[in-house]
Amino acid sequence: MNDKIFRIILYLAACLMPVVCGGIVYALVTDAFEAFNHFGFLNFLTSSEWSYTDGAERYGALPFITGTLLTTLLALVFCIPFSLPVALFVGEYFKGTRIAEVLSTITSLLAGIPSIIYGLWGFYTLRPIIMSLNISPQGSGILTASLVLAIMIVPYAASLSAEFVKMVPDDLKEGAYSLGATRAEMVRKVIFPVAGSGIFSSYILAIGRALGETMTVTMLIGNTNQMPGSITETGNSMASIIANQFGEADGLRLSSLIAIGLVLFLITAIINLIGKYLIKRARIA
């Protein structure tokens, strides 16, 4: 009897996850329906107007999709030169040593810092630097948000790719050394190709994290609703426009925000699924 109750509890708990996930998707889809219906799905995605004048409401997601993709892509570009050396340091050059342990502990500490703190740091430390370098007059913008976003995803990319660097068999490394390779050559010709798909998937997962990051981006991106003309200009990401406007929005505008949320959800889900699939494949190989 006891056993039966326990089983029922397990089943209920297990069913809850798909129910919650399905519920979120259902709510997003029903609430976004008005916007998609009014503007048309494709038109909504490709229009760059965002005006809430009464009677002439026009909402399009393109500036925000652009903002999200641009900040994420830039963050990835800035993140690679830091995370790849850390991965090699921990996973190869100082593998198993005390100093590698200390470094990976600090790296994972960075991953645990709440995003509001990154936002504060970016706002009060990085933004003035950007201003004093005359990169942009107001200091905030796509570039500033991307730089802080890059620092935030370094721990994810670095610790995961370090795992794949570590997994390269010693046999293969010694094989390369026995042919007279230097360490740098061995890293380039053996570790990178062999651990490559794993390292790649680490970055995909890091991207998944950058896409949805809200607080830091909202604090640093400048929150303007036009298409950004260059990376030093201000803009909005999908997450930051929602965070900025959900409180004051209703009707068609709220529905449009939720539609943006649905698109963001889909993009993030797809990126994460691809990342997880690649990681699984890299682990087997």
């Binding site: 010694e174 026995s178 042919l179 007279g180 061995m186 190709p193 062999v194």
Partner: protein
């Protein structure tokens, strides 16, 4: 027996993993040019450790210390750059280690690409063909040169690794139990191959297969607990070992 022109000479070679434990103790021996020399002994006797000292593999691990002298054509390799030594001293490992992301073709040429040496297309084609021919693999793989090296059978992979080592035209080929992961037929292939290769290269092979040592080597070392107990002509050692421990090992009383 003193050789006139040994290719390799160990002089009081010691290898230690920690300060207290020595894995190889004061080994002195001369290796004859263009011959196969076998190193035998029970597990943990230091035979692989001694072999790996010859291409400075121990330099990769900072805790391991090598003392004494190892003379390659009269020059002490312990004072040389590891990279230069490893180009003259090839190595084949217990498990076949073709680089999994490289094709068969690229695996043969790996020694050049890893060293940043550029070959012309003709040189590359010639090297690949002659090296694969010298390990009798050419006919089996000439139509699939672009497939990955890991696509081959274990014995073929090991021959590919030998070809890869030979491509750099080494003076010595070190082999660390190269057939222990292979089936008997593949093993026979490799043994026949080694007998052909000794005309071009000196082979130093670690094996715990006594039959293999007897079939292919002209001289044999027997090591026990880090010491070189006996070093003699293989025929002589197998028929009339001078040390009790060698006799015990060869007759299966000690393994």
């Amino acid at each position: 027996m003193e050789l006139i022109n040994p290719i390799l000479e160990f002089k009081k070679v010691c290898v230690s993993y920690t300060k207290q434990t020595m894995a190889v103790k004061y080994v002195s021996a001369q290796i004859e040019r263009n011959s196969i020399t076998a190193i035998m002994g029970p597990s943990g006797c230091g035979k692989s450790t001694l072999l790996r000292a010859v291409n400075l593999m121990h330099n990769l691990y900072p805790n391991i210390h090598v003392d004494g002298e190892i003379l390659l054509n009269g020059a002490d390799i312990l004072t040389m750059e590891p990279i230069d030594v490893r180009r003259k001293v090839g190595m084949v490992f217990q498990r076949p280690t073709p680089f999994p992301t490289m094709s068969i073709y690229d695996n043969v040429l790996a020694g050049f690409t890893l060293n940043g040496i550029r070959l012309s297309k003709n040189e590359r084609e010639e090297t690949v063909e002659s090296c694969l021919r010298s390990v009798s693999l050419w006919d089996e793989v000439k139509d699939v040169l672009n497939k990955k090296g890991t696509f081959l059978s274990g014995g073929q992979q090991q021959r590919l690794c030998i070809a890869r080592a030979l491509a750099l035209k080494p003076d010595i080929l070190l082999m660390d139990e190269p057939t222990s992961a292979l089936d008997p037929i593949a093993t026979k292939h490799i043994e026949e191959l080694l007998l052909q290769l000794k005309n071009d290269v000196t082979i130093l092979i670690v094996t715990h297969n006594m039959g293999q040592a007897m079939r292919i080597s002209s001289r044999s070392m027997f090591m026990y607990l880090g010491e070189l107990i006996e070093y003699d002509d293989t025929q002589k050692m197998f028929s009339d070992p001078s040390d009790e421990r060698t006799k015990a090992y060869l007759t299966g009383k000690m393994g």
